[in-house]
C-alpha cells in the first residue's frame, strides 16, 4: 500500500494507486481508489487506456510522418477519406470554430493541426475502460487535462488548478465527482495557442480552466476561451453547463459560471 501523502490538512484521505505512462508527447497519469486499484482488472484497464491513447497518437500526431494528420497535410489523403475517427474530430473542431467566431481553429498558423481537439477527445474515450471497473473511482489526466469519476459513495477527486505564474502552486481546488477539468494557457509551452481570427497570440488572459461533464467539451472550450483573449470571459459566461476559472495576465482570478444546461 502506498503511504498517505500531501495530506497536511489532516483530512482522512485515502492515497490513490497511481499509474504513469508517456504518450502523445506528454505524461498520462491515472489515479484509482476503491475496489480495483492494483489487481488484474485495474492493470488491464490501464493497459487498455494506454493502448487507446497510443493509437490516437499514431493517427493524429502531426509529428508522425505516417499519421492521418501528416498525410492530409501533404495532400495525400482527403479528410473525408480518413475514417470515422477523423470525421468525429473534424466535426468537433468545426463546431468549436463556429461556436467561438473562429477563435478556435483546426488550422493554427495555417497548417492542419487538430491537436486542440484530439487530446481531450482521446482521453475521454479511453475512460470507457475505467468506467467498467466496478466500485472504483478513477481520475485520468493527460498533460494537465483530466476526466474523473468518484466511486459511488466515495470521496470526490480533489483537483488542483495550477497557478500559471508559479508552477507548482495551485490557485484553486475543485472537487470532482463525475466530470472533467481542462486548462489552456501559456505557462509551459509558451504561446502555442493562437487566436484563429487574427493569427495572433491571445493577450490579457494567462490561463483558462473549464469544468464540464465531458473532457472533449471542456478541452475545446478552454482552448477557445484562451484564444479569445479578453473576450473569453464574456464568452464563457454564455456556455451552458460549464464553469470556468480564468486567471488574467495581471494575476486576477475569476470564476465564471455559464447557464445551467438545458434539462434532459
Amino acid at each position: 500500500m502506498s503511504a498517505p501523502v500531501l495530506d497536511g490538512a489532516g483530512a482522512a484521505a485515502t492515497a490513490p494507486a497511481r499509474f504513469v505512462a508517456h504518450v502523445m508527447g506528454t505524461a498520462v497519469s491515472l489515479a484509482l481508489r476503491g475496489r480495483h486499484t492494483g489487481d488484474g482488472a485495474a492493470r488491464d484497464a490501464w493497459a487498455a487506456v494506454v493502448a487507446d491513447l497510443r493509437r490516437a497518437d499514431a493517427l493524429f500526431s502531426p509529428w508522425r510522418a505516417n499519421s492521418l494528420v501528416s498525410r492530409i497535410g501533404r495532400g495525400e489523403l482527403a479528410p473525408a477519406d480518413a475514417g470515422p475517427e477523423m470525421a468525429e474530430v473534424l466535426a468537433i473542431g468545426a463546431a468549436a470554430a463556429r461556436g467561438s467566431g473562429g477563435a478556435f481553429t483546426l488550422h493554427p498558423r495555417g497548417r492542419f493541426d487538430p491537436c486542440g481537439v484530439v487530446k481531450g477527445w482521446a482521453v475521454e474515450r479511453a475512460c470507457t475502460h475505467l468506467r467498467a471497473l466496478d466500485d472504483t473511482g478513477w481520475c485520468l489526466a493527460a498533460g494537465g487535462d483530466l476526466q474523473a469519476r468518484a466511486a459511488d459513495d466515495g470521496e470526490p477527486w480533489r483537483i488542483g488548478i495550477e497557478d500559471p505564474a508559479a508552477t507548482g502552486r495551485i490557485v484553486a481546488t475543485v472537487p470532482v465527482v463525475d466530470g472533467a477539468v481542462a486548462t489552456s494557457g501559456s505557462a509551459h509551452r509558451g504561446a502555442h495557442v493562437v487566436d484563429g481570427r487574427t493569427g495572433a497570440t491571445p493577450s490579457g488572459i494567462a490561463q483558462v480552466s473549464v469544468l464540464d461533464a465531458s473532457l472533449t467539451r471542456a478541452d475545446v472550450d478552454a482552448t477557445a476561451a484562451f484564444a479569445l483573449g479578453e473576450d473569453g470571459v464574456e464568452w464563457l459566461a454564455h456556455r451552458a453547463g460549464r464553469t470556468a476559472l480564468v486567471v488574467r495576465s495581471d494575476g486576477a482570478a475569476l470564476t465564471v459560471r455559464g447557464p445551467d444546461p438545458a434539462d434532459g
Binding site: 502506498s2 501523502v5 500531501l6 497536511g8 484521505a13 492515497a15 490513490p16 497511481r18 504513469v20 506528454t26 505524461a27 497519469s29 489515479a31 487530446k119 481520475c139 489526466a141 498533460g143 494537465g144 470526490p156 480533489r158 483537483i159 488542483g160 488548478i161 495550477e162 497557478d163 500559471p164 508559479a166 508552477t167 507548482g168 495551485i170 484553486a172 481546488t173 475543485v174 472537487p175 465527482v177 463525475d178 481542462a182 486548462t183 489552456s184 505557462a187 509551459h188 509551452r189 480552466s209 469544468l211 464540464d212 461533464a213 451552458a240 453547463g241 460549464r242 464553469t243 476559472l245 494575476g251 486576477a252 482570478a253 475569476l254 470564476t255 465564471v256 459560471r257 447557464p259 445551467d260
Partner: protein
C-alpha cells in the same frame, strides 16, 4: 510572480434566463495576508440591498465611508448564492460570498459543475490535499519537474 494575495474586487451576478455568476478576485498590493475569510466579515449596520445587474462591471463604489453591501441571494440550481461587497474610501476592499451552494454531499454527486475554490497563495500544494493537477499543457520533459509528477511519484511503488 508571487504576490501577496487577497481576494477582492468585483462580484457580478447576471440573472438571465438561467443564472450566470461571475465572481471576481484580484491580487492586491495592500499587504500580505491571510485567507479570504469568507463568512467572517460582519455585515455593517449600513447594509443595503442591491440586485445584480447584467454582466460586466465593477460594483459601484462611490463615497468615502466604509460600507458593506449585501446583494440579494440569487437562486441557482444548486442553492442560493449571495455576495457581499465591502467598500471603503470609494474602493472595494473585499468581496465575500456569504451564501454558497453546498459543494459537498449529495448535491455534489449530481453536480459535475462544482465551483473552484480559490486557495490562499501562501498555501502550497503540499498543505492543500489534492489528487490531480490541471494546468497548461506540459511536455514529457516538463512533466519531470511538475507538481503532477510529484503527486505521481508519491503514490507509485518505488
Amino acid at each position: 510572480m508571487v504576490s501577496p494575495v487577497r481576494r477582492i474586487v468585483v462580484a457580478v451576478m447576471a440573472t438571465l434566463s438561467a443564472v450566470t455568476l461571475l465572481f471576481g478576485y484580484r491580487t492586491s498590493t495592500s499587504g500580505p495576508d491571510t485567507t479570504a475569510a469568507a463568512a467572517s466579515t460582519a455585515r455593517s449596520p449600513g447594509t443595503t440591498s442591491t440586485t445584480g445587474g447584467t454582466t460586466g462591471g465593477t460594483a459601484a463604489a462611490s463615497g468615502t465611508g466604509a460600507t458593506t453591501v449585501t446583494g440579494d441571494a440569487a437562486q441557482t440550481r444548486y442553492g442560493p448564492v449571495q455576495v457581499q461587497v465591502s467598500v471603503s474610501g470609494g474602493r472595494i476592499t473585499a468581496v465575500d460570498v456569504v451564501q454558497y451552494p453546498d459543494t459537498s454531499g449529495k448535491d455534489q454527486r449530481i453536480n459535475s459543475q462544482a465551483i473552484p475554490q480559490l486557495v490562499d497563495e501562501t498555501i502550497s500544494a503540499q498543505s492543500s490535499r489534492i489528487d490531480m493537477v490541471s494546468g497548461a499543457t506540459y511536455t514529457s520533459e516538463g512533466y519531470v519537474t511538475s507538481l503532477q509528477s510529484a503527486l505521481d511519484r508519491a503514490g507509485l511503488p518505488s
